[in-house]
């Protein structure tokens, strides 16, 4: 049988770094191949080469045995290749159906919407074609991306971390979909950091490290530890154990309600929540269920809310961000690019963003900021050229380490984190989680919003589930199964408060 996709000696160099070093890889029809590697290992570059976004400096590409030059995504699509990007490429002001229509031959929108709904239903992708993209959360946007790729009926489907924002049940269904697609002869290239997923769904696993293909293995014959070792080249850092009882209430939310507001899609319906010192409270749920509104209300970015938010007893419901930060509250937003960091500005300037002391007396204290940025780069092992590198030049994981590091280094008393390790590789994710645990030990009250249930089970002392703007009763992770949390994500939690 001829390979659906064959790469021979594909090489790409960016300045000093070899992003891809003579990579040769074959994907057979109907085969699901995982591409595994840390951030900066060259996975994304390789996928972009296959999808025609990046041109290789050397090497040959064959599709079904025929050598091809893929000079544009349009050419890739003509060859039957579809890709779901990790960073979304959707037009905010258009509806989902319009976004999908853009990549397809002309077709009446109504017919297209019907086809979309049909596909969405089959793969449990839960979308409304008439909605506009700017009203969607990250999770919903990703579902649109997957759906859009499937609409082209591809012969080779490339997925860049597709599962990071799906419910466990939806992941099962997606894997079912992938298996069905594979059975139909569609080849799948699957980028993931989640080793258990790779073991579950893929037939073969290509491990990249430092731009080289270090191994192609059968994931079933490997353990998660051995895969991690191949990927990192060393043993991954282990997660520290939980200990120490929580202390006084640091952050107290009562009756937080935003149903009067018109500007957000997802309203909060009278939330009550306490976070104590030395405690990590996790909030699970599919994004787009009010998490963004909750974070905005707690961080001070959204002041037009009802109910009350108290920090160590002080009512800060209407207090601006600066006042909350002065009281020790810090925040890591979900979106790194353009929210947690300004991509066009240097790391040095991005330190000044939330370090208010560096803005005292009307002047930006650049020298102090430079020293602090260098310290953060060093302490949190951020891979970059230095404090003058722009935030946009960092890979997703490295930028996340920098942003989380920036807030942790400020020794917060209360820390809000939305999706701490979204799109971050195993090594960096473990490092970030360890930092959170160390912070908890130091007495910080931490609120983590995440769609990664493994992460929440690993970190949280108490767990809540958010669905349609409401919060479930709190539970200890040991007292509930992942499947049960999955059911709660649809709002199906017991109506009576669980007694702790």
């Amino acid at each position: 049988m001829t390979a659906r996709l064959a790469l021979q000696g594909v090489t790409k160099r960016y300045g000093e770094t070899l992003a891809n070093d003579a990579i040769s890889l074959e994907v057979m029809p109907g085969e699901i191949v995982a591409v595994l590697g840390e951030n900066g290992a060259g996975k994304s570059t390789l996928m972009k080469i296959v999808y025609g976004v990046v041109r290789p400096d050397a090497g040959r590409i064959f599709i079904d045995g025929r050598e091809v030059g893929i000079d544009s995504p349009a050419r890739a699509r003509a060859l039957g290749i579809a890709m779901v990007f990790q960073h979304f490429v959707l037009f905010d002001s258009l509806t989902l159906a319009e976004n999908v229509a853009l990549g397809l031959p002309p077709e009446p929108l109504a017919a297209l919407s019907a086809r979309m709904l049909e596909l969405a239903q089959r793969y449990d992708l839960e979308v409304d074609p008439a909605k506009r993209v700017h009203d969607l959360s990250v999770g919903e946007r990703q579902r649109v991306e997957i759906l859009r790729a499937l609409m082209t009926a591809p012969r080779l489907l490339i997925l860049d971390e597709p599962t990071s924002v799906l419910k466990p049940q939806a992941i099962d269904r997606l894997f079912g979909t992938l298996e069905r697609l594979a059975a139909d002869g569609v080849s799948v290239l699957f980028i993931s950091h989640k080793l258990d997923e790779i073991r579950r769904v893929t037939h073969r696993c290509a491990v990249l490290r430092g731009g080289r293909l270090v191994a192609t293995v059968d994931p079933l014959k490997e353990t998660e530890a051995s895969l991690a070792r191949l990927m990192i080249g060393a043993d991954p850092p282990s997660i520290a154990a939980h200990e120490s009882p929580p202390g006084d209430v640091a952050l107290s939310v009562t009756g937080l309600d935003t149903t009067h507001a018109t500007e957000r899609q997802h309203w909060l319906h009278g939330l009550d929540l306490d976070v104590r010192r030395g405690e990590i409270v996790g909030i699970a749920g599919v994004s787009g269920n009010g998490q963004a509104a909750l974070m905005a209300a707690l961080s001070g970015e959204w002041l037009d809310v009802k109910g009350s938010v108290r920090l160590f007893g002080d009512d800060v419901t209407r207090a601006p961000t600066l006042r909350r930060r002065a009281l020790g509250l810090r925040y890591v937003p979900e979106e790194r690019l353009g929210h947690g960091a300004v991509t066009a500005l240097s790391l040095l300037e991005n330190v000044v963003l939330t370090r208010d002391a560096l803005r005292r007396g009307g002047f930006v204290h650049a020298n102090e900021a430079r020293r602090l940025a260098a310290r953060l780069i060093d302490r949190f092992a951020v891979r970059t050229t230095g404090p003058d590198a722009t935030a946009g030049s960092l890979s997703g994981g490295n930028l996340q380490k920098f942003i989380v590091g920036r807030e942790i280094e400020a020794q917060p008393l209360v820390l809000l984190v939305n999706q701490p390790t979204w799109g971050v590789d195993v090594g960096a994710a473990a490092a970030i989680r360890n930092e959170l645990i160390a912070l908890r030990k130091a007495g910080c009250a931490i609120l983590v919003v995440s769609e990664d249930l493994d992460e929440l089970f690993e970190l949280s002392d108490r767990l809540f589930v958010m669905s349609k703007g409401r919060l479930s009763p709190g539970v200890r992770p040991g007292e509930i199964s992942v499947q049960e949390v999955g059911r709660w994500m649809s709002g199906l939690w017991p109506q009576k408060e669980l007694q702790e």
Partner: protein
């Protein structure tokens, strides 16, 4: 049909191209300008010489360059502050006129016996007038979320009509033979000349002081940092806790005051009275200047010189070659056109299309 050149997105914006682009745009403007002279039956080299070289051949020419670049610099640095913060103030022309009205109103109060204290009074009134005019835009945007592009632009025409109404009515010179203009300002209210025998006044010095101050503000100060963040990533500015409303007001009031100052300097400087046409479109030309100068105060000084040269060259081309003075506007348009085209190269890389193996 495909062009032989394709534009490929760059991995990172080309820093060198950010400054090379305006230079390239100027060169292309001159080439297109030369072609324009040829089409109008002139020797292109002679045309360019009259347009660009002759104005700089004399000391007087240089002083005129400084004089004409003064309002351009003042308006453009103010606009740079706005544009950096994504506040699209298009109405510097109106703020300039409002400044001329306010400054001129004070200047008209001066008598033969007044002291030089009138000069700072005129300037202060001009700056306040411009700021007040911009405040209308700021308030409408802040209170009603009105689009500042439309509001500031429409206020230009209101200011023009207000000025016309004043010089044809209440402020009309009774001894002016019915011309729509005010009486000439007394010497006490006129801007002191800094270069004897020329028209160059203290305005140019003030413009350079403004450039230095804004350079410091935008490059080193917290307010400049906040404006930059708000312009590049509004969610990040909210995250940091910077007040969008405060930045909106600050940017508009500052640019309004600077444009108003420019208006006062024009009225109480080379013109010496209020007339219906205080400015040949300095406030609009300053938009082009701000972008050619890359929204950087020092870049704006050089861009202002180029634009001022177009104004003087246009006048010379009219008097010496008999060409229409609209040439100045055409040159301005060409410059903006080529700048926008060249700016594409900051984010995109031109490559020759080559045949691709396997492509049909």
């Amino acid at each position: 049909m495909t062009l032989p050149i394709a534009l490929v997105p760059r991995v990172a914006p080309a820093r060198a191209m950010q400054w090379a682009s305006p230079l390239l745009a100027i060169v292309l403007t001159l080439l297109a300008g030369a072609l324009l002279f040829a089409l109008m039956g002139q020797d292109p080299l002679q045309g360019l010489k009259v347009f660009l070289w002759d104005p700089l051949a004399t000391r007087r020419g240089w002083s005129e360059l400084g004089l004409k670049s003064t309002p351009l610099i003042l308006c453009a640095v103010g606009l740079a502050v706005c544009f950096r913060a994504n506040v699209w103030n298009i109405g510097a022309e109106g703020q300039l006129i409002a400044g001329a009205i306010a400054g001129g109103g004070i200047a008209l109060l001066a008598t033969r016996d007044s002291t030089r204290m009138f000069v700072p009074a005129v300037l202060a009134a001009a700056a306040l007038g411009g700021a007040a005019w911009a405040a209308i835009t700021a308030w409408l945007r802040d209170r009603f979320n009105a689009n500042e592009i439309l509001v500031s632009l429409m206020l230009v025409y209101v200011a023009q009509l207000l000025l016309a109404w004043l010089v044809q009515g209440a402020w009309k010179d009774p001894e002016g033979f019915g011309f729509p203009q005010s009486k000439l300002f007394e010497t006490a209210a006129r801007m002191p000349i800094v270069l004897a025998g020329t028209r160059l006044n203290i305005g140019f010095m003030l413009a350079l002081v403004a450039v230095a101050a804004l350079w410091l503000m935008l490059g080193r100060m917290v307010i400049g940092f906040q404006l930059k963040v708000a312009g590049l990533a509004p969610p990040a500015a909210r995250y940091a806790g910077f007040s969008e409303r405060r930045l909106l007001w600050f940017a508009l009031l500052l640019s309004g005051a600077l444009a108003g100052l420019a208006g006062g300097l024009e009225a109480a400087g080379p013109i010496g009275q209020l007339t219906p046409t205080i400015s040949p479109g300095y406030g609009f030309a300053a938009i082009i200047v701000a972008f050619v100068g890359r929204l950087h105060p020092v870049g704006i000084v050089f861009a202002s010189f180029v634009m001022a040269l177009f104004y003087i060259g246009g006048e010379l081309a009219q008097s010496r070659l008999g060409l229409p003075s609209a040439l100045t506007g055409v040159y301005q348009g060409l410059l903006l056109f080529f700048l926008l085209a060249c700016d594409t190269l900051i984010l995109y890389r031109p490559v020759w299309r080559r045949p691709i193996a396997g492509a049909r």
